[in-house]
Symmetry: C2
Subunit: 365 residues, 2 copies
């Protein structure tokens, strides 16, 4: 087995999930995740944890939904009883066909998902971690050969997470101390308020309230956005390819928009509801192991030297007690490259210029 | 997908497990069982049942045991809680390497198994069914090409089970009414008492207290065995190939034995304990979809026109209330072909001659 799979398992068990002796760990094994499941099992054994492997397959789930023509029973108790007692849930995601879910009508899939609301909440109440094992289908989506894609995935996952978490702590402190963020680059001059908002150091560990491996971003929930912004990194939203998005904000709301490709999809997105035209997230991508767009948002939004803004729903973890933040049925991330000819300011102070942060060598104020 | 996989799923769900709307079904998916899991999911959906798929992999289990160097925690409660609430547990067995379990020391594997005693009991308390999905590894074990092996497996599974169950009911009635069984063929003249013993009609359905698919045997727990018997169907016990076994019984106990191949393994088996030299089971193989030895006891012992005798432990389902029957640490099936030059008698009446039962055309008394 590729030695990196063992290293991945170790990061997952020790850094991300902080597994200890006697922990009850549900390991959700996707169709293509067998090898990672083997490596994780060995590591869980070494830690003296207990393991229960479940099988998550889009094909199996689609077949179940396709066969079922009545109301789905809500949250069957043999599954809730298991999750209520679990300390941690790992999702080892490894799709063998990234569009398999399209095999059943969206309405039925949504109904099935709704019937499992409590199951989802119970899973999120554990020290859960979601990660990805590289498959050929994912490589294909990324437009890459399988070997090169594996290199890409492990570069993203096998970071020195302690060092990265410290660097991200700098950014978190800056954003929490600051009141206003400004982003300046080609066709972009955007300001937004972040006063009284919490910034999350998403360091791929439950110890940081961060549940995806890889991660590597600091994010918060901005408001009162003004100005224009250009997103030069491609995106896929609900299966639609959208490129070269330009947004213009006034009084916190998108008042004008365009896209080089997929403008109709962009229009659908922005007109979903009122909240879909306000920002829900500002994220600073700091994982330099991720150096290219691969059409997988788990990776894309963490890309080093990018900034992403999401229209739609804000995350509760960024909001002060009692505030709801921006509400919407959608949360759609859009990414802009800030590695060149760009700057990020907090309260008028430049904190990143041309892809270099103030605490790094070569930073020019 | 091979249409037979859908038919297999239907037999499993409807005939074997008798699944009804609202049933909570744990589906244990082996490494090679993906396609059967998809077909089973669709069928469970159609019946309005709930499904929770778990992943059973010898590689994953071996890795866990290999990593673990302390005492295993007994029956972790997130797993017992799930099983306590399950109505049915399916095991979709599909090994990709039939000797993978050898990858960890037997002592550690046995300790792990012991730590899961309650989990096993809880599974057996449900309407459980164990079945097999054909894999290349199983074909290899059987000495067959993959396509031919699939034909073999589906011939065994896709029977008209209602008809077969009726025929087996004849045999069950005969054995329960009778006092003594006699088997006569080449180098074989064996008698045994079956008085006051129950015969189980193993018709591959929980409705018959039969939990393996395929099945197709009627079995009981004989005693007071006398005479000699020759087993011409090969067997594998604990990994050892044993061939051409001859046993001689006096007062219910084996007093002399030999084997053409594997005599040392046979000796080990028979000297395990006192019960290992007494019979625990007499089984009449009645599944004519199974017409050859494939080194898989789940199939071999059900082979049409064979009789198997097991030395060792008797099954409780064959015994009257309060009787323990033969006790032993082992239960080893040995098979003899009765399709030619042979007869089976109950209380002196011939009930099967040269592979034809008394209720079938061509039977000669």
């Amino acid at each position: 087995m590729d030695q990196r799979i063992h290293e991945h398992a170790e990061v997952l068990v020790d850094w991300s999930a902080r597994i200890e002796e006697g922990d009850d760990v549900v390991v959700r094994v996707d169709e293509g995740a067998h090898d990672l499941a083997v490596a994780v099992a060995e590591k869980l054994g070494e830690r003296g944890a207990n393991m229960l492997a479940t099988y998550i397959s889009d094909e199996v789930e689609s077949a179940f939904i396709r066969g079922h023509d009545a109301d789905f029973e809500a949250d069957p108790d043999f599954e809730t009883a298991m999750l209520e007692r679990a300390d941690s849930v790992f999702s080892l995601r490894a799709k063998r066909n990234t569009v398999e879910k399209g095999a059943v009508p969206e309405g039925r899939r949504a109904a099935y998902k709704r019937s499992r609301t409590e199951i989802k909440h119970l899973r999120m109440d554990t020290d859960w971690v979601s990660t990805i094992h590289p498959t050929r289908a994912r490589a294909q989506n990324a437009g890459m050969g399988y070997e090169a894609y594996k290199d890409f995935v492990y570069d993203a996952i096998l970071r020195d997470w302690e060092v990265l978490a410290d660097q991200m702590a700098n950014m978190k402190d800056l954003l929490e101390a600051g009141s206003e963020v400004r982003i300046v680059k080609e066709d972009t001059d955007l300001t937004m308020s972040i006063e009284n908002r919490t910034a999350v150091n998403s360091a791929a560990s439950v110890a940081y309230d961060s549940h995806n491996l890889p991660s590597g971003e600091v994010f918060t929930a901005p408001y009162d956005t003004e100005g224009e912004v250009y997103f030069d990194v491609p995106m896929t939203h609900d299966g639609a390819r959208i490129r070269d998005v330009r947004l213009e904000f006034e009084d916190g709301e998108v008042v004008d928009w365009s896209a080089g490709t997929g403008e109709a999809a962009l229009e659908d997105l922005l007109t979903t509801d009122e909240g879909a035209r306000r920002l829900g997230e500002l994220g600073i991508g700091m994982n330099r192991g991720i150096d290219r767009f691969t059409d997988n948002i788990l990776f894309d939004e963490k890309m080093g030297d990018t900034i992403h803004l999401a229209v739609g729903r804000a995350y509760g973890s960024c909001l002060p007690e009692g505030e709801t933040g921006n509400q919407s049925a959608v949360h759609a991330d859009m990414i802009t490259d800030v590695s060149e000819d760009s700057r990020l300011e907090v309260d008028g102070e430049v904190v990143q210029r041309n892809g270099t942060f103030w605490w790094e060598d070569g930073f020019e104020e």
